[in-house]
Symmetry: C2
Subunit: 321 residues, 2 copies
Amino acid sequence: MNKIVVGIDIGGTNTVFGFVTEKGDVLYQNTIPTQTHEAVEDYVAELADHIKKGKESLKEESEIVGMGIGAPNGNYYTGNIENAPNLRWKGIIKFTEIFKSHFDFPIHLTNDANAASIGEMVFGGAKYMNDFIVVTLGTGLGSGIVINGKVLYGHDGFAGELGHVESVPNGRQCGCGGRGCLETYVSATGVARTATQILSERMDESDLRKIPNDELTSKMVSEAAAKGDAIAIETYNYTTQMLGNALADYVKIASPEAVFLFGGLTKAGDILFEQTKAQMEKKLMPIFQNKVKILPSQLDDNAAIMGASALAWYEIHNDKK
Amino acid sequence: MNKIVVGIDIGGTNTVFGFVTEKGDVLYQNTIPTQTHEAVEDYVAELADHIKKGKESLKEESEIVGMGIGAPNGNYYTGNIENAPNLRWKGIIKFTEIFKSHFDFPIHLTNDANAASIGEMVFGGAKYMNDFIVVTLGTGLGSGIVINGKVLYGHDGFAGELGHVESVPNGRQCGCGGRGCLETYVSATGVARTATQILSERMDESDLRKIPNDELTSKMVSEAAAKGDAIAIETYNYTTQMLGNALADYVKIASPEAVFLFGGLTKAGDILFEQTKAQMEKKLMPIFQNKVKILPSQLDDNAAIMGASALAWYEIHNDKK
C-alpha cells in the first residue's frame, strides 16, 4: 500500500494541506481559511474532516503514516502554538494534542521557517548538507537553522529568530516590541519602509512618489527597479547590504555550508543573490571567505506543504534509528 | 591502573600542560614557553619529552589514555593549527599529526574557546546542559558554542567567532581586518579603548587621564571604577551594554539555557554579570525573557588544562557510543 504523510501549513489567512509521498510527490492539496472558527477545536475538526475526505478521494489506496504541521510560533518540543500574534486563538494552544483526538498516526509540529529548513533537507537543495540556514523572506523574516544535520530548536524550542537580531541600534520599530530588528529592513514590509525612507532623503523623481505610503509594496519597488527607478534601485542596494551584513554575522557564529533564501522577495532574482553575497563576503574574515553559498530554495511552488510533510518523514526515519 | 589524559593549552606566550583524571583532578602541571623553537617539530618534541618525564614523576603508576589540545585557530576536524596570527609558525601546521609521531594514544585538538566550552560541560557548570555558550573575555573575545550537547564546529571547523560579529557598523578597527567587531569593545583591550574614547568625549577629572594610551589596561579601569571614577564607571556601563546586546542577538538565534563568562574581565564581579543580564533582557522579545542564565565559569584556576583535558575525556566517551 502507498505510504503518505499529511503536510499542513497554517498561515494567518489560509491553511494549506496535502498528502505527500516519501519521494516528495504531492498527491492531493487543498486550502481552507484559517480563522473562521472562534474555537480552535472547531477549526481542527474541520481540517481533520477535510483530510479524511481528501484521503478517500485518492485514486490509489494509501496509508497515512504521519503528519507534519508548520505553524506560526509552533513549538516542536511541546507541539503547542504559543502566543502567535497573527492567530485569533490567544495564549498557549495545545495544537498537536487536539489533532491527536482525530488521528492515530504520529503528529509533529514546528514553526514555518523550521519546516522550510527540513523541507530543504529532505526534498530540496540541502539533501547532502549538515550545516545550513534557510531564510524565509515574506511579510517578515524567518529562519530555520540546521546544525549537525538537525534543526536548531534551542533549549526551549524557540531558536532561529534571526529576523529579530538588532541590525540598527535604536532603528525601526518592530512588531516584536524591539527596535532595529533585521526583519524591519529585510522583508517585503522592510523593502517598502526602506523605499519610503529613501524617498524622504533623496530628490530623484520616482513613480513611487505617487503611491500612498500604506499602499506601497515590495512588488512595486521591484517593478520600479526593473525600469531603472533610482529610488527603487537604491532600496534594493540597501536591502541586500543589510541582509549581507546579517548573514556575515551568522556565518561567523555557525559557519554553515550554505544559506538558502526562500519566499516572495527572492523573485527579485539574480541581483538579490549576487549583491547579498558580495556584501556578505566583504564582511567576512579570510578564514570564512568564498566558502559559503547563497542559494535559492529548491522547494517548488508547494513549498509550504513540502516543508510540513518533510517534518513528518524526517521524524519517521529518526524514530527508526 | 590510574587512567589519565594529557591536557595542553597553547598560548602565544606560554604552553601549559598537565595530567587530569576523569574526575577532574589535576595530578601534574607544568609550563614551557611556546615560541622558543623555529621549527614546530622541535617545539612538539620538547613538549613530548616533558610529558614523558612528567608521567615518570607521578607517584602512582598511571596510563595515559588520550590527549586534548586547545590552541589558537585550532581546527577540530583537521587537527591542524591554521594561520594563527599570534604564533611564529605560519600557514597550516599539522599539529596533531606531528604529535602522533611521539605517542600512541588518541590526540584531539580544538581552539581554546571550544576547549573551554567542553571543560564547562565535562567538569564545570554545564554538566547537565545541552545548549549553552562560553564567552571567553581575555585580550580578545572567544566563544565556544554547544548545541544539542555537541560543540558547534560548523561545516569547516571554524564556527564560534562571536568576537567578530559586527557590533558597530564602521566601528573600531579590528585585528581581523574588519571594523566594529564585538571584541574591539568587549575584551581587555576593548575596555581600554572604550576608556580612551570616553576620556575624549567627557570632561570629568579622572586618574586615567594621567596614563599614556598604550599603557592603559582594563585592570586599571576596573580599579578606577572601584574607586568611583566616573570615566571608568561609564566605561563598564558601555562594555556591559555592548555585551548584553550581542548576547541578546545570540539568544534569538540559538536560544541557549545559559551563557558562561570566562576570563580576566569577569573579575570585575557581580556588577558585570548584573548589568550585562539587565541589558540582554531589555533587548529580548517576551518569549525569550527571564529564561537565560548568565553565569561565571565554574572551571577553577586550572581552566586551560581542564578544557583541553575535557576534550580528551569527551572523545574517549564519544568513541564508546
